[in-house]
């Protein structure tokens, strides 16, 4: 039992804090948000130059091979700074392309590590539950696999060289890679709460590369994305809580800091408990994934805590700040918008609770 970070993990945290911290001042974020896409190309290149984009990729593909748990530390820092960089879709997708795709994708993965290529994963469908079988269909002919179906809220799809997509084959669910720039893919931009560029993606007989037809691989991909979102939520919630603590310690009413009212102090203390719980269950899930152990229950648990904690911490933070908390000139609002986004990404608390409940039923029914 050891809850400490290794030396290399501490180095990753420090490096990430240094690069992200320098470039996520409110003025810098505001400039990026005036662009068509909330994506900081320069920051992305700086992360590539530091080696952080390859933190979990193998050395053969230009990475550091530090594993999923260490990748999560980078993702947490992105959450803590709400940096406009798509670490989750690109880096988690890359990890699975490497694990399942093998050497055929070596040059794509090397380009991910150097910041030249972006990837994404499509996990949601309109009208389908995240953890159920997708309605997107895959059919094989002489030329290979073709996909028909619709995916929604696909991050950064317009800029990607490839998108990982789960689809239903005759033999069961399988994971594919599609090129979103081909004619058979229609992308429509969706404006979403957190302002990340997301897309409605329609696949109409799109040529696809099969990555795995093993159901467990599709589950592992979903688990990793789920835990990545939970990890980002840890960073987002931790920062909202600390902003609330420092703001209420400064803000005076009735001649005293408002933090001295127990009603305020206790609300922030409850955020502390939520963040601690969210952090611990997320670390547990990340650690299991890192070791290649079964992680679905832990991932669901982490996502349920994500859904609950993001909502509660965000609402408490806005509340104890008063009006300033919802003012777009004060930095809290970005965290609140991301909190909302993360709450519903990769499955809501209600859906994940139902899913976990079914798993408990089968665990106890012999």
């Amino acid at each position: 039992m050891d809850f400490s970070y290794t030396e290399e993990q501490q180095d990753v945290i420090k490096l990430a804090q240094q690069i992200l911290g320098d470039q996520t001042e409110p003025a810098a974020l505001k400039l990026i948000e005036e662009q068509r896409h909330r994506f900081d190309e320069k920051l992305w290149q700086d992360l590539a130059a530091s080696g952080l984009l390859g933190v979990a990729l193998s050395e053969a593909n230009g990475g550091m091979a530090f594993g999923f748990e260490t990748l999560c530390l980078l993702i947490e820092e992105v959450g803590r700074t709400v940096a406009p960089v798509p670490v989750i879709p690109v880096l988690v997708s890359a990890l699975f392309l490497e694990q399942l795709g093998g050497e055929a994708f070596a040059s794509t993965l090397a380009d991910v590590a150097t910041g030249k290529t972006l990837l994404s994963s499509a996990i949601s469908e309109p009208g389908a539950e995240v953890r159920e079988t997708p309605t997107t269909r895959a059919v094989a002919d002489e030329e290979g696999w073709r996909l028909w179906g619709t995916k929604t809220c696909v991050p950064i799809a317009e800029h990607c060289a490839g998108v990982l997509v789960a689809a239903q084959t005759q033999g069961g669910v399988a994971l594919f890679l599609v090129d979103p720039t081909t004619d058979t893919v229609t992308l429509q931009r969706q404006h979403v709460t957190c302002s990340e560029s997301q897309y409605l993606m329609e696949l109409e007989g799109t040529a696809a590369t099969l990555l795995s037809d093993v159901a467990a691989d599709v589950t592992a991909w979903l688990d990793a994305l789920t835990v990545a979102y939970a990890t980002m939520a840890v960073g987002v919630c931790d920062r909202m809580m600390r902003m609330s603590a420092s703001y209420t310690s400064e803000r005076q009413q009735f001649g005293v800091p408002v933090a001295t009212f127990q009603a305020v102090g206790h609300r922030v203390a409850d955020c502390f408990i939520d963040v601690e719980c969210l952090r611990l269950v997320t670390q547990q899930a990340a650690s299991l994934i890192d070791q290649g152990l079964p992680a679905t229950d832990a991932a669901l648990s982490a996502k349920i805590w994500t859904g609950d904690a993001t909502h509660r911490v965000s609402q408490a933070s806005q509340h104890v700040h008063g009006g300033i908390g919802v003012d777009r000139d004060y930095p809290l609002f970005r965290y609140c918008l991301w909190a909302r986004q993360l709450e519903l990404s990769a499955g809501s608390s209600a859906e994940m609770t139902a899913c976990l409940g079914k798993r408990i039923e089968s665990q106890f029914s012999s």
Binding site: M1, F3, A269, Q363
Partner: protein, 394 residues
């Protein structure tokens, strides 16, 4: 980060689990059905507790100089979890809170007379802190100890002195300096043998368990029963608090309740022949419990690890106390909802589910949210020590 037990830790877990099967026998369970003996004190309990002493378990985390095995806080946590999950009413406050303080600060005669017998499982100590007028503001207590030659004469009343009906000693906080400005600095600790003339107790029946009011009327004891320096008792009270808080919110026993309820729901058929666990609302409650348990387990393990590393934070200890105690009540509620109407049937009545264990737990559940340092004070500690927020004057 490695969030699994080592092989040695797993071996200890198995060893304690198997050992406790021989301790919690049917005759002990039968004895504990008597409300007087629910928290121990009966002859079977005495016999089993002494056996645990003889077998070296009580001394598990004690220093080797006192015959202990010097287990780490992580190992002690594993032991605690298994003992609590077994249902044995092990007096942790005696063995792990008061005992070590007596060993460190007690007089030579206390060390010979009491510490040795604690380690042998022959002694139970009740805690005499709270008073009718001193609860959360404990340092305002008024039980008075006056020096008289080589003796002390004690007068006052304590409340919620659990186990006092069978304890061998009372670990008593008394005021030795009546100067009001010296609130925390006027308290001294005493160990009162329960057979001392002037000591008496009356039962207080709470929602779920028996506790006691205890009375000290011109109770005279020799100075050798004083523990620590005169007027320096406060730090003996507060020194072990973080450690004690962790033992309040142990994960093992509630995990066992979750498993038993899920198993029961999987084996209980409804009138249409389907099993209760097939119902979405049942699955919802079980999943909610599981998710809460995951966080509790990680919190407990992290704290045991932090203690082993000598780095337990105050805010984290308080966060675990608040989260754990409030989650317990929620967990009992969610599990009892699964039982529905049967959730109110008490132990030994026809139709009781899981021997009425959770029906009873629900009734005692609230004690921990205000006992052991009430949760409002814990939240104050979290915001001040964890987030550096200023506090109002008290």
């Amino acid at each position: 980060m490695k969030i699994e037990f080592t092989d040695t830790q797993k071996a200890l877990q198995t060893e304690v689990r198997e050992y406790m099967r021989d301790i919690v026998t049917d005759d002990l369970r039968e004895e504990m059905k008597n409300p007087e003996y629910f928290e121990g004190g009966g002859p079977v309990f005495r016999e089993k507790f002494a056996r645990m002493g003889r077998d070296g378990w009580i001394a598990l985390s004690w220093p080797s100089a006192l015959g202990g095995r010097e287990a780490t806080p992580m190992e002690q946590y594993i032991f605690t979890e298994e003992v609590m999950a077994s249902g044995f009413p092990y007096p942790f406050l005696t063995t792990d809170a008061v005992g070590p303080v007596l060993a460190e600060h007690g007089s030579a005669s206390i060390r010979d007379e009491v510490v040795k017998t604690i380690l042998q499982g022959e002694t139970v100590v009740a805690i005499g802190y709270s008073e009718p007028g001193a609860g959360t503001d404990l340092a305002s207590l008024t039980t008075r100890a006056k020096r008289d030659g080589d003796d002390w004469v004690i007068n006052g009343q304590k409340m919620w002195t659990s186990l006092a009906n069978f304890a061998d000693y009372i670990w008593l906080a008394a005021r030795t300096d009546p100067d009001e400005s010296k609130k925390h600095k006027g308290l001294t600790m005493f160990l009162i043998p329960a057979d001392t003339p002037g000591f008496s107790h009356t039962p207080v029946w709470t929602l779920g368990v028996r506790t006691n009011a205890t009375y000290y009327e011109n109770l005279r004891i020799p100075d050798r029963y004083r523990v620590g320096e005169v007027n320096r008792g406060w730090k003996l009270i507060t020194g072990q608090l973080n450690r004690e808080r962790l033992s309040l919110v142990n994960h093992g026993p509630v995990e066992a309740l979750y498993r038993r309820t899920a198993q029961w729901a999987a084996e209980t058929a409804l009138s249409d022949g389907s099993m209760l666990i097939s119902r979405p609302w049942v699955q919802h409650n079980l999943a909610r419990v599981k998710v809460g348990l995951d966080a509790l387990r990680m919190m407990c393990l992290k704290q045991a690890w932090a203690m082993t590393e000598g780095a337990l934070g105050m805010a984290e200890a308080s966060a675990a106390k608040v989260y754990g105690t409030e989650f317990f009540v929620e967990l009992y509620r969610l599990l009892l909802e699964i039982m529905g109407q049967s959730g109110v049937i008490c132990a030994d009545s026809p139709g009781a589910v899981l021997q009425g264990d959770i029906e009873h737990r629900y009734r005692v559940g609230s004690i921990l949210t205000f006992g052991g340092g009430c949760n409002e004070i814990q939240r104050d500690i979290i915001s001040a020590a964890g987030l550096w927020m200023p506090r109002a004057e008290r």
